[in-house]
């Protein structure tokens, strides 16, 4: 791709991007959110047409007007959010769009062909399984299989590890290396430095729509890549003085929840938060995390168990009661929960604070005071926005998250629940968020950090618990935790021998 420019009204998404990918290599495309990675790939895949520049495949200039042409030219795309039909079988999904000329679908032949293809690439997938029943890692293989079935020789993977467990990520690496060995070319979009180091041969960094540089992975360092990506020096490791845990402030015993079909969704024998400590909760998504957090924040009443905060029984209190008891909560879904996107920033600062006398008096909103507070929070927490009246929607993810943490810390809580606080943020914002969590801990508050990013958990936690199928299946001191062991516990396979990670 040469000097590719793509403009959107008001934004130049790609501003002279150069990307040269060699046949038979794994090429990482590294950049922060909004850097223009996906736009570039959409140009390559024929979803958009470039305003300037040209795209060459095997030396020949190409102009795709739709994805079908791109597929015909040997391109394949594995989307971050899978484009699969859950109720179809693996084989049906794979042949979708390539059913063949006959009006009658020969399922058996299709299934056989898919099985052969899967076997030839070591993609261990049952062609007759229903996709909806498969774990995420398997579904991704189905996507890869579909691209291969369409004859793709150049595979684009958009943030492929976002939803995988550490073991599934390792399996993916093996698959990618195998594809490369067969002469396939892979473009791997990511903003995680570790992945670049682990799997790619070369890496191209883009920042704000411009190519910053291409490096041979083995000849560069994570530090250099991070600086290329952000454009300034960054602290990759969190500077974290040793913890000084104090009294237990939140104590949950035998917390249990049941789901809509009377299945057990949460069964926690015991969980404690202590002042001056970050408790990391790791696990694969959908293993009781949301239930646990809803219980701890007062959004859900557990069906059994006891929960005390500072010795007071809090079950029966609602979210407002939990806030009053000193719980602040950074939700995992900042658009759906943490913010009202159409509200200006100052009205978002009021969310959860409507019962506090500084914010409202006799039912009237003290908008002047709240605006002033918001402005001062914005400067303290470096929330970049024109004013307190700017709608939250127009802020970047990082600035939205800063506003949330500013609001939640302004309450001066005793307990901070931080749920995936850095999801989707760029390196700079992640750095800020991590420092805020450590500062909060050092201020003598109890912090619960729930994340699906094992590195984040291991970097920040003083104590780690592993959640699997609603239970705590392991507890470690932060310094003694072992990546491979955590990974196995997360996958619900504690009995198997540890395998070397990384």
């Amino acid at each position: 791709m040469r000097d590719v420019v793509k403009r959107f009204p008001g934004v130049i998404a790609n501003d002279g991007v150069n990307l040269a990918v060699q046949a038979g290599e794994i090429h990482a495309l590294l950049g922060e959110n909004g850097a223009g990675k996906s736009t570039l790939m959409n140009l390559l895949f024929g979803l958009y047409n470039p305003d300037e520049g040209e795209i060459l495949i095997n030396g020949a200039s190409v102009h795709f007007h739709n994805t079908r042409q791109a597929v015909a030219a040997g391109l394949g795309m594995v989307h971050q959010h899978f484009m699969l039909i859950p109720r179809f079988t693996v084989a049906e999904n794979v042949i979708l769009g390539n059913e063949g000329p006959d009006s009658i679908l020969d399922r058996e032949a299709a299934s056989r062909r898919v099985a052969e293809l899967a076997a030839s690439y070591g993609l261990n997938v049952d062609p007759d399984a229903t996709v909806g029943d498969l774990p995420v890692g398997m579904r991704q293989r189905v996507e890869i299989l579909r691209a291969l079935y369409q004859g793709s020789r150049i595979l684009i993977l958009d943030e492929p590890t976002a939803l995988l467990t550490p073991q599934e990520v390792d399996d993916l690496y093996i698959i990618l290396r195998r594809l490369r060995a067969d002469g396939g070319t892979i473009i791997f979009i990511t903003h995680k430095l570790r992945e670049v180091a682990n799997v790619s041969d070369r890496v191209t960094v883009i920042r704000r729509g411009k190519t910053i540089g291409t490096r041979v992975t083995s000849e560069t360092t994570s530090q250099e890549l991070a600086e290329l990506m952000v454009g300034r020096e960054v602290l990759l490791r969190v500077d974290r003085p040793p913890a000084n845990p104090g009294e237990t402030i939140l104590d949950g015993q035998n917390l249990g929840c049941t789901g809509a079909h009377h299945q057990e969704t949460l069964n926690i024998a015991s969980i404690q938060l202590r002042r001056g400590e970050i408790l990391g909760v790791c696990g694969v998504e959908g293993n009781g995390q949301s239930e646990l957090i809803e219980v701890l924040s007062g959004l859900r009443k557990p069906d059994s168990g006891t929960l005390t905060i500072k010795g007071q029984d809090v079950l029966g209190a609602d979210a407002t009661g939990f806030r009053r008891a000193g719980v602040s909560y950074i939700p995992e879904d900042r658009h759906g929960r943490g913010l009202v996107l159409d509200f200006p920033l100052w009205e978002n600062a009021l969310l959860g604070n409507t019962e506090r006398p500084e914010f409202t008096r006799h039912g009237w909103i003290r908008s002047g005071w709240i605006r002033e507070l918001t402005s001062s929070l914005m400067s303290t927490f470096d929330v970049r926005a024109p004013s307190a009246s700017t709608p939250a929607r127009s802020l970047s993810g990082g600035n939205q998250q800063k506003l949330i943490i500013a609001r939640e810390l302004q309450r001066n809580p005793d307990i901070l629940l931080a749920i995936q606080p850095t999801r989707g943020l760029d390196v700079g914002a992640i750095e800020f968020m991590h420092r805020s969590l450590v500062k909060t801990r050092d201020a003598g508050k109890a912090v619960l950090l729930l994340s699906f990013d094992l590195d984040e958990i291991m970097d920040l936690s003083d104590r780690i618990v592993v959640l699997s199928e609603g239970r705590i299946v392991g507890e470690f001191e932060g310094s003694t935790a072992d990546r491979a062991q955590l990974g196995l516990l997360m996958g619900g396979r504690p009995g198997e021998p540890a395998m070397a990670a990384d």
Partner: protein, 377 residues
């Protein structure tokens, strides 16, 4: 103030532009039907604004539309699509007329407020029911409010036909008995039909604006309407809030009915006036903003008040007014649809703050970093 899509100013400008576009298209329609659009609009404006009586008529037509429009707007702010304005309005008007037509020997100072209050309560109950049903069972308000409309029509028809034994109704006129003078909303401008209900409409619209944007309750309503998740997170009781908001909406529609029966007609007729449905359009054109609703209500009132003069002087059928109303709704809807287009939104998007990464992570700017459409299949 920043100019950006979705802001009050852009919405207001958009609505004005939409109205102008509608008038333009309306002119084409008038030309096609062989008349002079200039003359038609001139006589329309003259009828509605050219005389004291005309101006009063504009306000009289506007009053129930403003109240009904605000009733729709309050519910919409809570995330509820209130199709039940008509039912809430007629049940309110009926209740007001019943109280107003009953002779307890009360003085006006008590009888009028009592009748108005009855309308608000009756309309409020009619709004509260779908609100509670939604909160408790998830029953969709579009279904329940439509059903309650029919329930209101039938209940009133039944009462008038069968219950004259203990209600002040008169089957021969298909309505209630006449409201007593002690309960009539007074005429506030001599030799016109301008009654005190018009004042109620304006006061109520301003009051609701204040409640929505300056009180904790209004904040909760708007939060619930924009994001159920954020409301739950913020400790706002979703069910309670929508139930109260719907009751408030019903009460406002009930007040519209009270103005009609206590002010304008002096009785409540069993024939549904359809005002509640026009009021939905008024609410939409007013962008569910009480102040916007005042203006759109005045516009619709203006069109209705001038229609007869237009027919008489320009020989343009008064039904062209209905066409104009429809065009206004269409034009506003078109503007709203345009507001969702990425390129249109981008026109007013503030510049990226320094150092901030634009393009949030769930594709708020869909043109960047959004996930591509599925491969063509």
């Amino acid at each position: 103030m920043t100019i950006r899509p979705g802001s009050a100013i852009v919405n207001a400008v958009g609505s004005v532009v939409a109205v102008l576009v509608a008038l333009l298209i309306g002119a084409v329609v008038i030309v096609i039907s062989g008349q002079d659009p200039w003359e038609a609009y001139r006589s329309l404006a003259e009828g509605a604004l050219g005389s004291r009586r005309g101006r009063a008529e504009t306000l009289v037509y506007a009053a129930p539309l403003i109240l009904g429009g605000v009733a729709f707007a309050v519910a919409a702010r809570a995330g509820m699509f209130n199709i039940g304005v008509e039912g809430q309005l007629v049940i309110g008007g009926f209740a007001a007329a019943l109280v107003g037509a009953t002779d307890w020997g009360l003085p006006s100072a008590i009888h009028i407020p009592l009748a108005v209050f009855a309308a608000a309560i009756a309309g409020g109950v009619w709004g509260f029911i779908p609100g509670v049903l939604k909160a408790a069972t998830g029953a969709h308000e579009v279904i329940t409010t439509i059903m309650l409309n029919y329930l209101a029509f039938r209940l009133i028809a039944y009462s008038i036909q069968k219950r004259s034994d203990w209600l002040p109704v008169d089957d021969s006129v298909q309505g209630t008995e006449r409201v007593l003078d002690t309960a009539r909303l007074p005429i506030i401008l001599d030799a016109t039909r301008l009654h005190a209900g018009v004042v109620i409409a304006f006061v109520a619209a301003f009051a609701i604006w204040f409640v929505l944007f300056h009180t904790t309750f209004g904040y909760k309503v708007r939060t619930v309407g924009l994001s159920e998740g954020a409301a739950r997170y913020g400790g706002i009781r979703w069910g309670l809030t929508i139930a109260i908001a719907m009751a408030l909406a019903g009460a406002l529609a009930g007040l519209a009915g009270a103005g009609e029966s206590l002010g304008l007609h002096g009785r409540h007729s069993a024939v549904p006036p359809g005002l509640g449905f026009t009021a939905i359009a008024v609410g939409l054109v007013g962008r569910n903003h009480p102040i916007g609703v005042i203006f759109s209500g005045l516009l619709f009132g203006f069109l209705s008040a001038g229609a007869l003069t237009m027919q008489a002087e320009a020989d343009v059928s008064r039904d062209i007014v209905l066409v104009l109303q429809g065009l206004v709704i269409l034009a506003v809807a078109a503007f709203e649809a345009m507001n969702r287009l990425p390129w249109f939104r981008a026109l007013g998007t503030p510049k990226t703050p320094p150092g901030g990464d634009r393009a949030s992570d769930t594709g708020m700017s869909p043109e960047i970093e959004s996930r591509p459409a599925p491969p063509a299949i």
